[in-house]
């Protein structure tokens, strides 16, 4: 693993505007090209933490992204380099056509028409959406919407991808297809999920949050073997054991 720190969070605390505490004293370091999962029950502060990565929310503490301190003057650059995909694709797809949505990011970055077109084509192809340029967002299925939302961020060539519950609402087949596509994205990924299989398939490291605090930060494989921790977080320990065994089996046979 490269030793370049792309995300460095020190003593981050955040309260919602109405006073509800959301995050308490979070420390996190993410290295380049790592894939980390942020797991935890509903209300643990997972999405809140994610929104701090591109300055959507600003709490107390230090957040440094790719060497840039999270402050007003760096916001534009940070947002260019961190691609955040929201949980609900309807909020992310606000343009009349798919092409408009995917080209929104690159156009705002000031790229010329030809480069924008190129980026859009590549992003759509990566997500298996070739030919979807002229389609309207409301005529797409849930899975297609999620893929377009992801494409809008891929077109920006972000160095860090932050995904909020990418497989939420998707049926098993579509969910599996999406996970397989995400696996091919080489950039640093921070994925918020409450589903263990998603974390296991996509991430080598898992950060567990509860009540706004970081409870544990360990390799995903280690988590699968830690019955106590799994049960604490409501995961099925036997299922986790089965996943662990399957992984060991797969890595052995695929060598």
């Amino acid at each position: 693993m490269n030793s370049e720190k792309v995300i460095e969070i020190n003593h981050l605390s955040y309260d919602y505007p109405d006073g509800t505490p959301a995050l308490r004293d979070i420390d996190l370091v993410v290295y380049r090209n790592e894939s980390i999962a942020i797991l935890g029950p509903n209300g643990a502060g997972k999405s809140t933490l994610l929104y701090h990565l591109n300055g959507t929310l600003k709490g107390d503490g230090r957040v440094t992204i790719l060497g840039l301190l999270m402050e007003k003057k760096n916001l534009k650059e940070i947002r260019r380099r961190v691609g955040l995909v929201f949980q609900n694709p309807e909020d992310q797809l606000f343009c009349p056509t798919v092409f408009d949505d995917v080209s929104f990011g690159p156009l705002n970055m000031g790229l010329n028409e030809e480069r924008v077109r190129d980026r859009v084509e590549r992003a759509l192809e990566m997500m298996g959406l070739k030919g979807f340029d002229g389609r309207s967002a409301h005529h797409l299925s849930e899975g297609e919407k999620k893929r377009v939302a992801l494409a809008t961020v891929l077109a920006m060539d972000s160095e860090i991808l932050a995904l909020d519950e990418p497989t939420d609402n998707l049926d098993p087949a579509v969910s599996r297809a999406l996970i397989e596509r995400i696996q091919f994205i080489p950039q640093t990924k921070v994925i918020v999920t409450h589903r263990l299989p998603v974390a296991v398939d996509l991430c080598e490291r898992a950060v567990l949050l509860r009540g706004g605090r970081k409870v544990e930060d360990l390799p995903t494989e280690g988590l699968l073997k830690n019955r106590e921790l799994l049960e604490q977080f409501g995961f099925d320990a036997d299922f986790a054991q089965w996943m662990y065994d399957r992984r060991r089996y797969l890595t052995k046979t695929h060598f």
Partner: protein, 255 residues
């Protein structure tokens, strides 16, 4: 939910559908302007305009019967506004009816005014119908933007189009939930529930607006929407744009 009201037939393949939106906007607006500028006695020109529009509709492979039905939508409005006019103006008796309790006379100039309103409304509605049936809504908006329409209008129209489908979906879901829980009921009580639904829709739209704004910021939005580029100006467009000067010529020399 699949619904496409505004641009019902805009997916058909035809030479007219492939024309650039700008050319179509200019030409169909010219039809309306010429029609409106004619004195009511120019039957020949009204006929020519009508035939030209029908010709374009045929070229665009649009179902004429369907279009005719849509033009008839203006009838209720015409009925309310214009039907009393012939009975108002009191010069040049065009005809008379004797009712039991008095005479009802129809004035000639009143009839002319009625004809004026009917023919011009019909031609106007037909033109707009052709425009909206051969141009998808996103293309229409972009065309207007490139022709110099103020951005604020096009952006508002664009968002309205995109999110009206979501609003309709939410409304349908609310209605289903409501119907499942209050079977029957007096209309007065129902109106209270409808009021609540409208209020809820407004709140949800307001919060959605905030989330969409965050999504726009996350993709680099910095105050102004990116400029629309592209558009075609080929032989088809040039040929089509011969229509306005031709109409103008006919207008001047045939009346």
């Amino acid at each position: 939910m699949r619904h496409a009201f505004l641009d019902h037939h805009s997916g058909i393949e035809s030479p007219i559908h492939h024309l650039d939106a700008r050319a179509k906007i200019i030409v169909f607006l010219t039809f309306i302007l010429i029609a409106v500028s004619l004195p009511p006695t120019s039957f020949l020109l009204f006929g020519l305009l009508g035939l030209a529009l029908i010709g374009i509709a045929l070229l665009a492979k649009l179902p004429l019967g369907h279009l005719a039905k849509k033009v008839l939508i203006i009838l209720p409005f015409l009925f309310v506004v214009a039907i009393s006019i012939p009975f108002m103006k009191k010069d040049g008796i065009g005809g008379g009816y004797s009712l039991g309790f008095g005479d009802l006379s129809v004035s000639q100039s009143g009839l002319w005014i009625l004809w004026n309103v009917v023919i011009k409304s019909s031609l106007g509605v037909f033109s707009i119908l052709l425009l909206s049936s051969t141009t998808s809504f996103p293309q229409l908006i972009k065309g207007m933007e490139r022709l110099g329409s103020p951005k604020i209008f096009t952006i508002l129209a664009s968002f309205m189009y995109r999110y009206s489908f979501i609003l309709i979906d939410e409304m349908q879901r609310m209605k289903r939930a409501r119907d499942s829980r209050c079977f029957g009921g007096r209309w007065f009580w129902q109106s209270r529930v409808i009021g609540h639904m409208v209020g809820t829709l407004f709140l949800r739209s307001f919060h959605r607006g905030e989330r969409v704004y965050l999504a726009m910021l996350s993709r680099g939005y910095h105050g102004t929407m990116p400029e629309t580029t592209g558009g075609r100006f080929g032989l088809g467009e040039i040929l089509f744009l011969f229509i306005p000067p031709l109409l103008l010529f006919l207008r001047i020399y045939l009346s």
